[in-house]
Symmetry: none
Subunit: 202 residues, 4 copies
DNA sequence: TATGAATGAGTTTTCATTCAT
DNA sequence: AATGAATGAAAACTCATTCAT
């Protein structure tokens, strides 16, 4: 590994450290309540240092969101691929589960990505592609279902929007209202997914 | 109307003006991004004046949320009562529609109440009752359905949580992503509700 | 009593109420920490009302100080007169005691009058006369002592300044440091006065 | 001097500048009347800068008082040590003089330390040790005097409290009432101290 | 590359005070 | 005489950000 390569790697490591810390803090206390100073303190660098890696707080958020969308896409994509050979019913279910579980396992990211409405800021438009890619998985599943005449409704767009709505609903509520007296997760989520499928299937 | 009555009314009018403006701005830019000064400017009073009506920014939020929850409860309750005599299917659907339409007609409130996770602050616990009351409508509908053996699932809590999740899903997405290429509202919402019902019915 | 007399009396009563409350609060929390609103609340009037009786906060302080100086003068004067016939030694001691006891019994006033250096404000110069009158008692005692060749030092001004310094010393410390581990008051004050007298007597 | 040493020194210089200015202003106008902004203006920095050196206004006061108590202790201690070999009479007098002269030479500090009753705030308890140390000098002198059977009174605590009261009396009055028609300082202070000594000596 | 120093703009909030009634 | 409504001025403090080194 050349010196410049090493340097690049070091740089990436620090960048990642910053992004991870920021993600954690943003989601824990909310974007507004986390100051650059607090991020810096946590990683034991000076606040100024962060500016050597990110133009400003907004860019940090941008990078972080992009990363989040990538992870999210990857989760759904993996679920789909891992069940490529299974029957469609099963595949669908596993992708649904992947969606919800991503949210619960990455509350930080899910909040920032889908619940805080943060990227309506003009400055963050760049993330849209990544987001679209993730949504496209749901779209393609709807398309695939249609080929099998699986859904009651043959409009792919409509089906995928319904699915998204339903998946987002339970995921975001479970994240927001952690102290609510929810039915145990496994039971709730299992039944919820079942309900979605029945509601859509022919 | 006596003088003191008129005065009281004037006071209420200003209070309402403040609450409305705050609601709008909070929902538009987020609670943290809206300063007392900005609210004051919009209503063309001095910042100090707001403090003559509300102890502090937090209390303003508190009052506002309480108001929102009341409106919300009222919307659902009206829908239920107006369809008391209808068959259960119809009644359910109308309450669902009332939920979603409340959100779309009162985006500001819906955001503040259900999407910004703002009232996890201890200081706002007083609102919880109003919120619980609203949720209890869904609960009682689930109970009513059970009496008729309407739902596939006889656990009222489970049913109402599934319903809430699904209603919240589409409502919050439509609010958050207004620029997304949604299927026309009437079509989308109609099909969405249909899908929910099928998914739950025996 | 005529109507206008009654009105005047009422007015005086309220004025006094304000002054008393202000005195108490000023001394308790410090002039700066007491807002007009707090005074008003305590007497259960609106803040505006105070302005019907006093031009502003400063004038309130002014009146209050004037009142304090009067009380103070009266205390010393009474002690002197009550002991007119006693031997000079005794008379002196009783006036000393009156000084210290006034301070301890009226910590509020004593602080405002002699410890907060408040009336160096130009606006309060009017009080000076009252203060001077009080000090003149010490002066005249020094003069009286000299006639009897009582003091080691025949300069009246010098003697009275020494006395004032000594009396003020213990009084202000006892007020300021109430939690200090003082010798019991009676013992301390008795010995203190003894010490002063011995130090001055021929 | 290394670079880091120089930096440290620079930092200390600014800190000192802030402390000095604050001391002057606090004593001149009172702690409450001096805003961070005013201090900043005087040293020609931005208000924010002060917060880079002191956590908040209270800490600034705290540091300042601690410094004052140290100076005060040092003054008395020096006077005592410088006169270790002298007879007790002389030593006592010189320490008395040191007390009074410290007050007159450091009016700002003396006011803040002993006249403004500022450190009864819980937040400032840390200063108490320094204050106690200063008072302990008077105590030890009283003890020393007792060994020689110097004082009329053998209770050390009592003697030291009397002394403190008397020293504080003249010091604080001279500071507070600078426009009063005092006997010339040297005369007044000389006689005052003489009077104290006579009053205490056997 | 990393950072100490500095700051302008902004925050919530409090207060003395005025004015019309 | 009493007061509700309104405000300008100021307070302490925080933050994202820049700059020079």
């Amino acid at each position: 590994m050349s010196i410049s390569e090493r340097k690049n790697r070091d740089k990436e490591i620090i960048k990642e450290k910053i992004v991870n810390t920021a993600t954690e803090l943003f989601s824990l206390y909310g974007y507004e309540h986390v100051s650059m100073r607090k991020i810096a303190e946590k990683i034991e660098y000076s606040p100024t240092t962060i500016y050597n890696y990110f133009k400003n707080k907004n860019e940090l958020l941008f990078v972080l969101l992009k990363h989040g969308y990538k992870l999210f896409y990857h989760s759904l994509d993996t679920a789909r691929k891992d069940n490529e050979k299974e029957n469609f019913d099963r595949k669908l279910k596993e992708v649904f589960r992947a969606y919800i579980e991503f949210g619960l396992a990455n509350k930080d990211y899910y909040k920032l990505m889908f619940m805080m409405n943060i990227d309506s800021d003009d400055s963050l438009m760049g993330c849209e592609n990544e987001k679209a890619k993730a949504f496209s998985i749901l779209m393609s599943l709807a398309g695939e279902g249609n080929k099998h005449h699986y859904f009651i409704n043959s409009n792919e767009m409509l089906v995928s929007q319904i699915i998204w709505g339903q998946l987002h609903g339970i995921t975001s509520l479970l994240i927001s209202y952690q102290n609510f007296s929810w039915i145990p997760n496994e039971v709730l989520i299992g039944n919820y997914m079942e309900s979605i499928l029945i509601g859509l299937k022919k």
